[in-house]
Structure formats: C-alpha cells, structure tokens
C-alpha cells in the first residue's frame, strides 16, 4: 500500500487558493473574493498518478509572523504537523507582496512547491514572469497556473509529486540577514537543537525567538508535552459551512 502524502495549501488571501483546493479535491466550499473568507481549514483528498494526497486548506494569511489567530494556525500546522508538501499559492498580479509568504515558508521547510496562480490574468495585464529564474532563486519548483481556467494543473501536481516522493532535492533559499542577526542565530541554533532536537527548523525558531514571538513558544511547549498531543486543531471535513 502506498503512503498517503499530505499537502498543505498556504497563501495570501484572495489568491484563489480555495478555488484551486476545490478544483483538486472536488469539494464545493463556496469561495469569495475577500480577505479572510477561509476562516476554518478544510480537508479533502485528490489523486494524481494513482497516488492519493490528503489536502489541507490553511487560512489565507499575509505572513506567518503571528499577527492573528489565522497566522498562528497556519504556522503551527506547517511546523508541527509537517506536511509532506506545503503548496504556497501566490497571486501573479502582486508577486512582490506574495513572495514574502513564500520566503517565510521556505525558511521553515524546503518541502514546498510555489504555485503562481492567476497567470492568465497577469498575462492580460502585460506582466511577464520568468518562472525558471524564480525557481532558481527560491530553490524549489515554481509552476504557473490558472485554477479558474484549469491551466497548468497537471504540471503543478507533477511537481507536488516530485517533492512529496523526494525525487526533487530542494535547496530552499536562505535569507542572509545583517551581521547582528546572523551572529544571534549562530549562538542560538546549537542551544535550540540541544533543547528540542532536530525535529523542528532551528534557524527559523532562532529568528522567531529573537523576534520575541511568545506565541511560538506557547505552541512549542504544547507540542513537546506528550499529554496534549491533540493541539487545538479545527478542521471541518468536506468543506461544509458551519451552518448545521
């Protein structure tokens, strides 16, 4: 029996993340064109090349730096549930802002595929995107799609498969910060690895700790305590609304 891979869908609000999720999983959760429409993560399944994938639609967030409950939920899922692939959905028409989230995800995990959605709209607006160059910089597969018009979906799933099975060895972009920060990271990483082992990305945790991110610490504690293994997850199956 083949392993079921898990794929987490991350992305800014309004990137068509839920549209893609619905398209793949066949779920019909209603999508809307406004920030914060996905308040509760939905779960579904899809198959590609005879492999079954479990898909999780995370809340749309601008970043993972814990400004809100949504961001905490998305961040904790990626760190603690460690999905086989994190699919970062970006809006092709505002890549600059959207790339921030992709970079933050890449600092946590290299098991990621970057998916540039709304590519047809971007072309209509006269935006040319050099996918190869972006992929080279990011060190993970980058695929342009249009979830709405079902363009590029197969190519995307091929890349998801490559990352999931380990056929693709990613070299995720690591941002080099200024000296002060890098020195701090260098001091903290061994300490972090001593305390929590190598299960979690030490460099990223070091950054968050220097940033004074208390909520991450709370989550870490909860996840290290074996009694509370069922950390607060709220997943609604089959994308039904919470109404009855």
């Amino acid at each position: 029996m083949m392993k079921h891979y898990t794929v987490a869908f991350a992305g800014n609000p309004n990137t068509g993340k839920s549209t893609l999720f619905n398209l793949l999983t066949g779920l019909r959760q209603h999508t809307g064109n406004w920030a914060g429409k996905t308040v509760i993560s939905a779960e579904g399944e899809f198959t590609h090349n005879n492999r079954v994938y479990k898909a999780i639609d995370l809340p749309g967030t601008y970043s993972l730096y814990s400004n809100s409950a949504d961001e905490e939920a998305a961040r904790d899922y990626i760190i603690f549930e460690q999905p086989d692939v994190t699919l970062v959905v970006l809006d092709a028409t505002s890549l600059e802002r959207n790339l921030n989230l992709a970079l933050q995800v890449l600092e946590i995990t290299g098991r990621a595929v970057v998916c540039i959605n709304l590519i047809d709209e971007a072309r209509k607006f006269g935006i040319d995107i050099n996918l190869k160059a972006i992929s080279k910089r990011l060190g993970v597969p980058v695929v342009a799609i249009s979830a709405r018009n079902k363009i590029g979906i197969d190519a995307l799933l091929d890349q998801v498969e490559r990352v999931a099975t380990g056929a693709f060895t990613s070299k995720p972009l690591q941002i080099t910060y200024n000296d002060e920060i890098e020195q701090g990271i260098a001091q903290l990483v061994p300490m972090i690895e001593g305390v929590i082992g190598s299960k979690y990305p030490a460099r990223w945790i070091a950054l968050r700790l220097m940033d004074g991110d208390d909520s991450l610490l709370t989550s870490l504690k909860a996840n290290m305590d074996p009694k509370s293994t069922s950390n607060a997850k709220e997943v609604v199956g089959h994308g039904v609304t919470a109404c009855h």
Binding site: H30, V39, N100, N178, L209, H244
Partner: protein, 470 residues
C-alpha cells in the same frame, strides 16, 4: 516519543532560550531588520524576474473603484444593488412558489384519499399529512424559490469582489459606533446564515470588536427569516398595489427598509455597547480591496443554488418535519375542552396584543427558537387547527387565513419587525457560546435583541393605535 525532553525541565529550558534570544535582540529594531531582510529579497527577486509591459493596464480595477466607491455614487450604487437583488428575488420567486404550493396541495389530496381508502385513523392522517407533510411542504414551497435566487445573485456579487467595497464605504459608520469595518463583511455573511457568520467574525482580530460583531449579527435577517419577511411584505405591505410590477417594487422597497433598519439597529447597539460594557479604543484597521474578477457566472449560480437547495431541503426535513408533527399534536390534544396550542396562545395573547401581534404569533416565535424558518409554518398550523380550515393550495389563501384571525397591516409589520430583531436561532446561540466560551455573552446575545424587539414593536403598535391608523 520523538522529543527528547518532555519534562517540565524542557519547558523551563525553552523559557531560558527565549530570554537568551531576547537578550541578543535588544529592542524592536531587529524585528524590522528581519522583515526588511525578507522584503528586500522578494523585491530583488521580482526586479530580476518580473517585467511589467504596461503598468496602466493594472489599473482597470481602479477605474471601477473610482465609481463604486466614489463620493457621489458609492452609496446610491450600494442601495441600488441591494434593491435590485431584492427585486429579482421577489419577482423571480413568486411563480415557482405558487407552483410548488399547488403541486404540494395536489399531492396532499391524493395522500388524503389514500388514507381514506385504507381507513386509516384520523389521528394518523393528522400527524402524517396535516402535520408532517404540510409543515415540510410549506417550508419548501415558501423558502426554496427565494433562497435559490437570492443566494446565487449574492454569490455573484461576492465572487466579483464587491463586498470589500461595501466594507470600505461603510467603515466610517462602524468606526463611529466603535466597531470594526470588517463587521460589514460578517454582516453580509449573516444574510446567508447567522450561525455561520458567527464563525466568520474570526476575521476581526480584536476581541472587543469581534464581540460587537457577534452580538449584533442577529440584526441581519438570515436565510430562515427572509421568506417570512418576503411573504408578509408582499401579502400585506403591497396590498394597495394590484399590478404585478408595482407590487414587486413595493415589496422590494419594504424589504430594503427592513434591512436598513437592521443596519441602524446594529450601529446603535454597537455604539451603546462600546460606550458601556465593551469600552475600549478601536484597534488597527487594514482592509484589502482585491481586484474585481469576473466570476464564472453559470458555475457560481449552479454551485450556489445547489448548495442552498440542499440546505433548505435538509432543514425542511430535519427541523420542519418534527416541528409540524409537534404543532399538530399540540393543536389536537385537548385539555379541559381546548387544545394545548389554544391554551398557550390564549396565555400569550394579552402580551402579543401589546406588541401588535397575537398569542399564536408569540407562541410560533417561541417554538421557532430551534430554527427561524419554522415560525411561519407553526403559525399557520396553529391558526388552522383552531378551526378555520382553509384549502392550502395557493399562497393567496395564506392571506385569507391571516385575515380570518384579525390581521391588519400592523400585525404584519409587527411580526416583520419582531422577526428582524428578536433572538437568533438556537444553532447561532450555541455557536456564540462555543466561540465566546461565555454563558454571559451567549445569554446577552439573546436577551439584548429580545429586549429591543419587544421595545420597538410595543412602541410601534401603541403609536399606530394612538393615531388610529388601524
């Protein structure tokens, strides 16, 4: 276990890690450096990989925004769209609703005949046909057509991206009343279902402003109340207008008035609460206005109407069917010479009269706590079981039932106001309790609207009678 340190010591070490980290990073400058580091990288990637051939083209959304959020046109367009949505709903639902009602009436005839052929006892026919079947079929014929029109149209607007513009236009009003601009978005969700809208308030980060949005969401008429409002306004408010188009127009305007009143009450309650129990400074506010996107028109309509019709049918079976049975039984079990239903109605009647309604209406609202859509069927069944048997084969005959029980336009208006303002349904209250984890706020979110509903209907009824308008 994979974590090597799972003891209390592990947690302490984590704290000391944080302390060490905070020592290294003094002050807030480092945070900026981290974000600027990331931002710098993403903009350098974009510079190298993204080319804009024509920056002007990106502004097409801007041109439309210049109209729908303009000083002159912003509000008229909002009201216009609201009115058109109502108009389409009422005009479109009219015929299908009466067809469904005739169809169900026709089937009922056969069912009754069938029961007679097999000499089934009267009570069985009563429970199954007059109770269960009628209750369910009324909910379906009254609710299904308007909901299958209203929600697809609303979904189109939503997918197009209009809702954030509404939030943008109305933000100042919410700010003045101490609420959050995103409350306009959670209110829009309330049109569909208050219970779901309670969950959508999670998009409001500040607990105080979120609580305001939760407490006031009830003042947006939901799925379950729309049919009551539409039916009553078309039967009673548009009475003088005889021609179809004018009648539809009047009904739509009355509904708009009701929705606007709901908004006024929302703002007022938010304002009062933010000056009293929920005092505090408004938190920060950022709202993205996403680009307008042409929705897949037919797909949106199909998905949304399928979703809604399933929802209505499930509700009809889960809630209306048992409610029909219970109401029939209450109306046909006699204690001391009268049915339980009549006893209850008689008990509430003096109170109902004060509010411009009667005992049956009050009772229907009380029995309708689990779901608002059963209020009207319970009321009709209550009336019918009290003697006035009417052939239920068209929507027009519903009006006759009401008139037989002494209804005037004031009764209809009071019931509409009460329906708009009274407590939210049971599911919503349960969700409020779950979200706020506070019994106090769950109870308050029923008591505050109830108090307002009683106050408003009482005042209206007394004024109307004082001036002798009825």
């Amino acid at each position: 276990m994979e974590s090597p340190l799972v003891t209390k010591k592990g947690a302490d070490t984590l704290d000391s890690l944080l302390a060490a980290a905070k020592n290294l990073a003094d002050g807030s400058s480092i945070r900026d450096e981290i974000v600027s580091g990331i931002y710098g990288v993403s903009s350098s990637i974009c510079r190298d990989t993204v080319a804009y051939r024509d920056k002007k083209k990106l502004n097409s959304t801007n041109k439309l925004d210049a109209i729908v959020t303009s000083k002159i046109w912003g509000f008229p367009i909002m009201l216009g769209i609201l009115g058109i949505v109502f108009w389409i709903t009422i005009a479109g639902a009219n015929y299908p609703s009466s067809w469904l009602a005739s169809l169900f009436g026709f089937i009922e005839g056969y069912l009754t005949a069938g029961f007679q052929v097999v000499h089934a006892p009267d009570w069985l026919h009563g429970v199954l046909v007059l109770g269960l079947y009628r209750g369910t079929s009324w909910v379906i014929s009254v609710m299904l057509p308007p909901m299958m029109i209203f929600f697809p149209v609303f979904a189109l607007l939503e997918n197009f991206g209009y809702l954030p513009r509404v939030a943008f236009n109305m933000d100042r009003l919410f700010k003045k009343s101490g609420g959050h601009g995103k409350q306009a978005l959670t209110m829009s969700m309330g049109f569909g279902c208050n219970a779901a809208a309670i969950l959508s308030t999670r998009i409001i980060e500040s607990p105080r402003e979120r609580m305001l949005a939760i407490l006031t969401n009830n003042f947006v008429p939901c799925n379950g109340r729309w049919p009551t409002l539409i039916l009553l306004s078309s039967l009673f408010m548009a009475g003088a207008a005889t021609t179809g188009a004018l009648r539809t127009l009047t009904t739509a305007s009355v509904l708009m008035g009701i929705v606007l009143l709901g908004i006024v009450v929302t703002l007022t309650v938010s304002w009062v609460m933010s000056k009293t129990a929920l005092r505090g400074v408004p938190t920060h506010y950022t709202l993205e206005l996403p680009p307008f996107r042409r929705p897949h028109i037919w797909k949106t309509i199909l998905v949304s109407s399928k979703e809604k019709s399933l929802n209505v049918l499930t509700r009809a079976i889960v809630v209306a069917a048992p409610a029909g049975v219970i109401t029939w039984m209450l109306g046909n079990i006699f204690v001391g010479g009268d049915s339980i239903l009549n006893h209850m109605a008689a008990f509430f009647d003096p109170f109902g009269q004060l509010l411009g309604m009667d005992g049956f209406i009050i009772m229907a609202f009380i029995l309708g706590l689990p779901a608002n859509e059963i209020v009207l069927p319970i009321l009709l069944m209550g009336y019918m079981s009290s003697g006035a048997m009417v052939e239920m084969d068209s929507l027009g005959s519903i009006k006759d039932i009401f008139l037989d029980h002494g209804w005037t336009w004031l009764t209809a208006l009071s019931m509409m106001l009460f329906s708009l303002l009274h407590y939210p349904c049971g599911t919503t209250l349960i969700n409020i309790y779950k979200e706020t984890k506070s019994m106090k706020w769950a109870v308050l979110s029923a008591v505050i609207p109830l108090g307002i509903a009683i106050g408003v209907t009482f005042t209206v009824a007394q004024l109307v009678r004082l001036f002798g308008w009825v």
